[in-house]
């Protein structure tokens, strides 16, 4: 079965919009449920970590390049390198390993 790309995009856009707009328009008071708030707090860290590894390892031909990129990126971000520099560091390492290990 082949699904329609535009429906995919509309579903993605609709859900993204509802998540962002509903709290701003409907919920004027703070969410009190501690468990729910804690869950929301941890979600981005788990999700982004899961999306990064092991995918970064399989992103290029050389597994070792992905691992080096991951470690360097984690270290750079840990020490406050910021979004753009961290992304560049990860990318450059993959590129250099690709040239060297060719």
């Amino acid at each position: 079965m082949k699904n329609n790309v535009y429906i995919y995009i509309l579903v993605m856009a609709g859900v993204s919009f509802l998540l962002r707009a509903l709290p701003l328009t409907l919920i004027r008071k703070e969410i009190k449920n501690r468990y729910f708030r804690s869950f929301l707090y941890y979600v981005p860290y788990v999700t982004l970590a899961v999306m990064t590894f092991p995918a970064i390892m399989d992103a290029s031909e050389h597994r070792i390049a992905g691992i080096a990129s991951l470690i360097a990126g984690m270290a750079a971000a840990y020490f406050g390198a910021g979004l753009f520099p961290t992304a560049i560091i990860c990318s450059v390492i993959i590129f250099v390993f690709g040239l060297v290990l060719r």
Partner: protein, 255 residues
């Protein structure tokens, strides 16, 4: 008199937003280029990818969405994974709703909501006092045009660029994800440990029998529900709101 001063205020904040959006735009441009490459690999055309970026304004969310398209997942999977990955925007919107004056009307709130991203949230939630929604409009129009442009060029030029450069650019997104999660992992050791556990479980799920046959999107949902659910149970955040704002500002960045 009052309306006039409101208009002047709106203009001032809008222009400030445009200016403050420039460094965000630079970062977005590079990252969305990589996103465009993901979109191209998922089989999207340049205009489909551009529409997706204009409508969704989400890095991780769009990335995961393109993965769903690539793997021909169901629309339900798409809705679920978008909800899971973009759940943090709910928290940001809740925080911003406290920051807006009650006079801010519903259409304005909808626009602020439409353009909530990690970086725009970071910039607008740190404004002293009440937040003028026009600041968000300025930030969004400046930075997110480059988000859409970068996505578009990623699809188009991804075809032309040599394979090793495309591979390297594709890794920009992972670097960005690390830049979003690691600072909080340093500040809050529990989060740091949870990041490492998440990576370990993710690796195990990608290699173990049965679970490795699930689609990547489904694995992300399952692992997130398991680990974030357990973490919320074991390490509930304090009620003073400090952790909450830290979480919401997880993607905040100075670029």
């Amino acid at each position: 008199m009052k309306a006039e001063s409101n208009t002047a205020q709106a203009k001032k904040w809008f222009l400030k937003g445009l200016r403050d959006g420039i460094p965000i735009a630079a970062g977005y441009f590079a990252v969305s280029f990589a996103l465009g490459i993901t979109a191209r690999n998922a089989g999207l055309t340049w205009y489909q990818a551009t529409i997706a970026s204009l409508l969704c304004n989400a890095s991780a969310g769009e990335y995961a969405g393109f993965e769903v398209i690539a793997s021909h997942g169901s629309y339900i999977t798409m809705a679920l994974i978008t909800a899971i990955i973009s759940a943090r925007y709910m928290l940001m919107s809740v925080t911003l709703s406290q920051k807006l004056s009650p006079e801010v009307n519903t259409p304005q709130r909808l626009f602020v909501g439409f353009w909530v991203t990690d970086e725009i949230f970071g910039a607008s939630s740190t404004v002293p006092g009440k937040l003028n929604p026009h600041y968000n409009y300025g930030l969004a129009i400046c930075s997110l045009s480059f988000w859409a442009l970068g996505t578009c060029l990623g699809v188009v030029l991804g075809n032309i660029l040599p394979a090793n450069i495309v591979t390297a650019l594709g890794v920009l997104l992972y670097g960005m994800f690390l830049a979003i999660i690691m600072p909080e992992g340093r500040k809050n050791k529990k989060v740091g440990v949870i990041i490492l556990i998440s990576m370990g479980v993710s690796f195990a799920f990608s290699r173990l029998p049965y679970v490795s046959s699930l689609s990547e999107g489904t694995r992300i949902i399952i692992i997130t529900l398991l680990i974030a659910g357990a973490a919320a149970f074991i390490f509930p955040v304090k009620d003073d709101g400090a952790d909450e704002s830290a979480a919401a500002a997880g993607g905040e960045d100075e670029i």
